[in-house]
């Protein structure tokens, strides 16, 4: 278990501001934040590459705050791979073992096993600059894993890669996480990545943690506007909340009244995820508490999915598949009904 206590560090334009956090064994934990939020520095503080201004870092209940990185037994993978350019793939991966003065034969066996695992055996004698991005990142992963670290830290490991390689590596990460019995802490600015990989996510903003929780908690119940914006909640509306019937809350946006199952009174923001809104050509009866009539204002063809802006007094965004879109014969200006459940309305 990794425990961070009141950690602070202020260096040039980067800042970590009194962060406390616990990360469980074998957890896949993701720090998510925009650039400049201090997420890389936080990762490097865990690795021991900086001394914090104040605060402590514990690993397995041992205070490691002032332990240098070579004594922490963590693996580190950077966005730009940071392979040693003067060493071959084999030498790069073997580096950690060479330092441990293992026997040559033993090193060879262990390196080859890992190269096999990542499918890079045939690159053994190549220099890093001759490799593709995906191959370099696989080598960097193997190099980090060969010392069997208890913790693997990854700083934007997918950002420099193309879409296809990125998806392949997401699979690798999952596989490693299962196979190696390892805690993975990853930093990213890409919410989709976090969603696909993380057990829990911490959202960072200007060196502070805005929200920590499972992917689902953060996705469905963003705690403030920053988180909501960042996870791509496109329907964010201001309103005044009052108590309603059946224990529900009624939010008056000025134009429409929306019911929510969450309890809150006064000035609030509400978010509704676009995919939680259903669309129909007719006013059919459903269990959804919120039903509004409106018309289609804008249509964005996003390829796999279609995004619509619907005006029902407030403008709401919703998504549907290309297939549903053509089945419903939608076009701009068409009158339609939208439905969503009170439980789909998040208040903050």
């Amino acid at each position: 278990m990794i425990k961070i206590e009141n950690l602070s560090k202020d260096w040039k334009k980067f800042k970590i501001d009194n962060i406390s956090l616990e990360i469980n064994d074998n957890e896949y934990f993701v720090f998510l934040g925009p650039s400049g939020s201090g997420k890389t520095m936080l990762l490097e503080l865990i690795a021991g590459m900086w001394s914090p201004d104040s605060g402590k870092v514990y690993m397995n209940n041992t205070n490691v705050t002032y332990l240098p990185p070579e004594k922490r037994g963590v693996g580190f993978v950077y966005q730009n791979y940071m392979l040693f350019p003067h060493k071959t793939v084999f030498e790069n991966i073997a580096f950690g073992l060479t330092l441990r003065k293992k026997e040559k034969q033993q090193i060879k066996i262990e390196v080859e096993e890992l190269m096999n695992l990542f499918g890079i055996s045939e690159l053994s004698d190549r220099l890093p600059r001759t490799l593709s991005g995906g191959e370099q990142q696989r080598t960097a992963l193997a190099r980090a894993l060969i010392i069997h670290p208890k913790v693997l830290l990854m700083d934007e490991p997918l950002s420099a890669l193309d879409r296809k390689t990125r998806e392949e590596l997401i699979q690798e990460f999952r596989r490693i996480h299962k196979k190696f019995d390892i805690t993975i802490i990853q930093v990213t600015h890409n919410f989709d990545e976090a969603l696909q990989l993380a057990d829990r996510i911490a959202i960072l903003k200007k060196g502070k943690i805005s929200q920590v929780g499972t992917t689902d908690e953060i996705f469905r119940h963003p705690k403030d506007k920053f988180v909501a914006d960042f996870v791509g909640s496109e329907n964010i509306i201001n309103g005044i909340a009052k108590e309603g019937i059946d224990g529900l809350t009624i939010v008056d946006t000025g134009n429409i009244k929306i019911e929510s199952s969450q309890k809150k009174i006064g000035d609030v923001h509400l978010t509704i995820r676009p995919e939680d809104i259903t669309l129909s050509n007719e006013n059919i009866v459903t269990s959804a508490r919120n039903v509004f009539k409106g018309y289609i204002k804008e249509i964005y063809d996003l390829g796999t999915i279609i995004k619509l802006t619907v005006d029902v007094g407030e403008q709401l965004i919703l998504v549907l598949t290309r297939k549903s879109f053509s089945d419903l014969e939608l076009n701009i200006g068409k009158e339609i009904y939208i439905y969503f459940k009170a439980t789909a309305v998040n208040l903050f």
Partner: protein, 263 residues
């Protein structure tokens, strides 16, 4: 862009004046002496010994510059600290100090009753009119080449690469010699050669600290003053040939040096 616009042509013409201004005197010098006088000078023991003193002292100065300059360069490349700008200025300042002033400044400190010379003279180390004097004069004017070039080399290495090496179990020193040093080696070698060449070229500071043992530039001056231009020219041809040979050799070697693309 268009290949031949008037501005480019004009700039090229202006620029070529400067190139010719440097090129013509060098070529003219090399071709100005007949083979006979060069050979007879090469058999002159005074010429040979002065060239030997130059080459040898410069080599010595370069080794000292490396020994102290490379660690300094690494510190400057990797650490921010108060007074860093001041230290950078100190390293650069020898370039702008007139050469004879350098000689005077070093002489004051390194004579047998100077603040550094006095203790060292008790150890039997004298600087005036001796090889050690030549070496320190050379070191003073040339060490910045080693420091600045090595520093550039270290700065071009992503510090995160060193950080990764640390997480894999390498201590600071191990990281330095297995990662940083090999990757900066090219820049360090370039700096060393420039340092050596600058050392050989020094005249003003050397002549004040140690007229004797004669270095090659001093011999050329002495021959010029005592026997005239014709007599000095063959030695100048020999010396410039050595310098140019080293210069060209290094350029060629550097071009073939395996460079690693930055990741």
């Amino acid at each position: 862009m268009r290949k031949l616009d008037y501005t480019t042509i004009f700039f090229a013409i202006m620029g070529s004046f400067l190139v010719l201004f440097i090129f013509i005197p060098i070529i003219n010098l090399i071709t100005s002496s007949d083979a006979g006088s060069i050979i007879s000078n090469l058999q002159d023991s005074q010429v040979i010994s002065s060239i030997f003193v130059s080459v040898y002292s410069a080599l010595f100065a370069t080794v000292i510059a490396l020994l102290f300059g490379v660690p300094l360069a690494y510190i400057l490349a990797r650490h921010d600290f108060k007074g860093k700008g001041f230290i950078e200025s100190i390293i650069d300042v020898p370039i702008v100090i007139p050469h004879t002033v350098v000689g005077i400044a070093l002489l004051l400190v390194f004579t047998s009753n100077g603040i550094i010379g006095a203790p060292l003279s008790k150890l039997g180390l004298t600087f005036t009119d001796a090889i050690p004097g030549i070496v320190i004069a050379m070191l003073f004017v040339s060490s910045s080449f080693v420091v600045n070039s090595s520093r550039e080399g270290f700065e071009s290495i992503d510090p995160r690469m060193e950080k990764v090496a640390r997480t894999l179990g390498a201590g600071t020193l191990r990281t330095f010699y297995s990662i940083s040093l090999p990757l900066a080696l090219r820049s360090i070698v370039v700096g060393s050669v420039m340092c050596w060449a600058r050392s050989v070229s020094e005249f003003g500071a050397v002549i004040i600290l140690a007229y004797y043992p004669l270095v090659a530039p001093t011999l050329i001056y002495q021959k010029f003053v005592n026997y005239g231009l014709d007599n000095a020219t063959p030695v100048a041809v020999i010396l410039i040939s050595i310098c140019l040979a080293i210069f060209i050799l290094v350029r060629v070697l550097m071009r073939g040096w395996r460079t690693y693309d930055k990741n």
